[in-house]
Amino acid sequence: MASEHLKGSDGASAPILEPGQTFRSVSEKISSLVLERKTGLGWFAGLGITFLGFMMMMFAISYLLYWGVGVWGVDIPVAWGFAIVNFVWWIGIGHAGTLISAILYLMRQEWRTSINRFAEAMTLFAVVNAGLFPILHLGRQWLFYYLIPYPNTMTLWPQFRSPLVWDFFAVSTYLIVSLLFWYIGVVPDMATLRDRAQSRLGQVTFGILSLGWRNSARHWKRFQSVYLLLAALATPLVVSVHTIVSWDFAVGIVPGWHSTIFPPYFVAGALFQGFAMVLILTVPLRRFYHLEAYVTERHLDFMAQMTLVTGLIVTYGYVCENFTGWYSGNIYERYLVINRALGPYGWVYWLTLACNVVAPQILWFKWARRNTLILFLIGIIVSIGMWIERFTIVVTSLHRDFVPAAWGMFYPTIWDYATFFGTVGFFFMLFLLFVRLFPVVPMFEVRELITTLEKKGEYNKGSEASPSGVVSEGAQSA
């Protein structure tokens, strides 16, 4: 997908920016979504439904805090239930946002421009949800701060050799760095909104958020320097975060977990599922907010290709797992493979394969990659597939490990489901608020893109329909 691709060898390929956009039309279109567009009933309905989900989450959490983790289905031998599944799933969703905003930035992939803002927002909201679960999973949630190394009267320190402590550092770093990266990118657009806002409230709010940004060339130079460095920092960070998440499993000696394939397999799985979530968010956003000029078929095509590629890496992970089970010669590993496919949770495993291996193969076809409905459905199928994949990893390894006398089953309770679906509601609620209150496409980056494409001779900026200016020497200042 290098830049030679952008020129489009065949006439049918869509541009990465619809022709006719000017600096002004970009500002008008994107900022009007925040400042002028009437909030539709659909938005309110969506907010209402997702808010109910959020309330369900709050209720489930309160119930959990009152009664303790016994309200969940976790027990021995399956002591890691939905909480860890949800944690891994949510944090994986975040990773595609960072991939789009940071890694594709470093690789100078111009198609990232229109989608990076909401992909980053997706990252933030997913990480917020992810961060909840390890804390909720603690026995005494209110003592979670014991994970922070601080001098205390108990003279206790965290156990720095434990992946669970690494996890705490990785996830909190990821959340903070994603937030900083996102906010730095938002500041110049806040200045545009400040200048375009008609209401006093808008002017003051966006004025504060813009920090008084005035588009000075000196500021831009430092901005670009820091933005590039943050992208370069976020790239290894995103790999490290999911690697550390996979170490939560791989460092243990449980059959099916103790494997060196886990880090790359987890990182690829995270990106796979993250791209699926980007598709779920992009397709309706593009349609309902009429962003077809900025998020073109080309973007959908690229995202579908990324989904396919990461899906194939995940498939390789599945193959490798089964190979290890056979080649290790270890009876526990071998039994895990048999039990995973044919045991009581066998149907979950086959469903995982259907969702993650079989379904994405349709993306080999160009017509499928350009069909928004298919992409949306693939997004949903892959998201479900990746959730149950994590379920398979967590539950099947634990429920039958070394001693048959200690085998057992995991039965989730209504509180497991309420917490999980609640966080889904919370995620979409935050996203709906974001699309209403923030510019969903980075305006300054699209302006820059117009110039870049124009210089390359791939784009014709529309002419601005205003009369040529008159030089007025010594004009009055306002």
């Binding site: 965290p158 004025g207 320097s225 300054f444």
Partner: protein, 180 residues
């Protein structure tokens, strides 16, 4: 001269980024130093054209990263070896490979925080008021579709008539006095 004390500078407004880039280079060649260029997106080479050829932001980020990494190592060394030595699965107290993940994460965290704080601080933000906002066209177009070059009054070469004539010769849309 007394007139100059009342204004922040003179600004010229352009339609295209190339015009601004050329104007900035001409102004620099002319000998003006205290000036700033404003564009609604980063224009390549614009900062260099007004004489800002380098930025210290990479050093700030590097400093943050080094601080984060070193302090993370010292923290773990202090906690695991000296203050609370504890036998975990027979591993040595100083089991440095296990310390790498936290060192890495804190390196990234401190580097990113240093970059963010450095950016805000070196840019002098937050700065809600700036004289450029007194120019109506700048408020209406500066963050959207126009390009501005402002030569500031405290530039030693600044002379109200002379500078105005110079800016007008660059064929801008208009030249405005910027109230301080």
């Amino acid at each position: 001269m007394s007139e100059q004390e009342h204004i922040y500078g003179l600004s010229a407004e352009f339609r295209e980024e190339q015009q601004l880039l050329d104007a900035a280079r001409r102004a620099y060649d002319e000998g003006y130093r205290k000036m700033d260029a404003y564009a609604p997106f980063p224009v390549e080479g614009l900062a260099d054209a007004i004489g800002m050829t380098s930025t210290r932001m990479p050093l700030v980020v590097l400093g943050g990263g080094v601080f984060g990494g070193v302090s993370a190592y010292i923290l773990q060394l202090y906690a695991s070896v000296w203050h609370y030595p504890h036998n975990i699965g027979g591993r040595p107290y100083h089991s440095w490979p296990s310390f790498i993940p936290v060192i890495f994460e804190l390196t990234v965290l401190c580097a990113a925080l240093a970059g963010f704080v450095g950016l805000i601080w070196r840019n002098g933000l937050p700065e809600p008021y700036h004289p450029m906002f007194n120019v109506r066209e700048f408020r209406e177009h500066g963050s959207q579709d126009r390009f501005f070059l402002c030569i500031e009054a405290d530039d030693p070469k600044f002379d109200r008539q002379e500078t105005e004539r110079f800016l007008a010769s660059l064929e801008p849309e208009r030249v405005s006095a910027v109230d301080s």
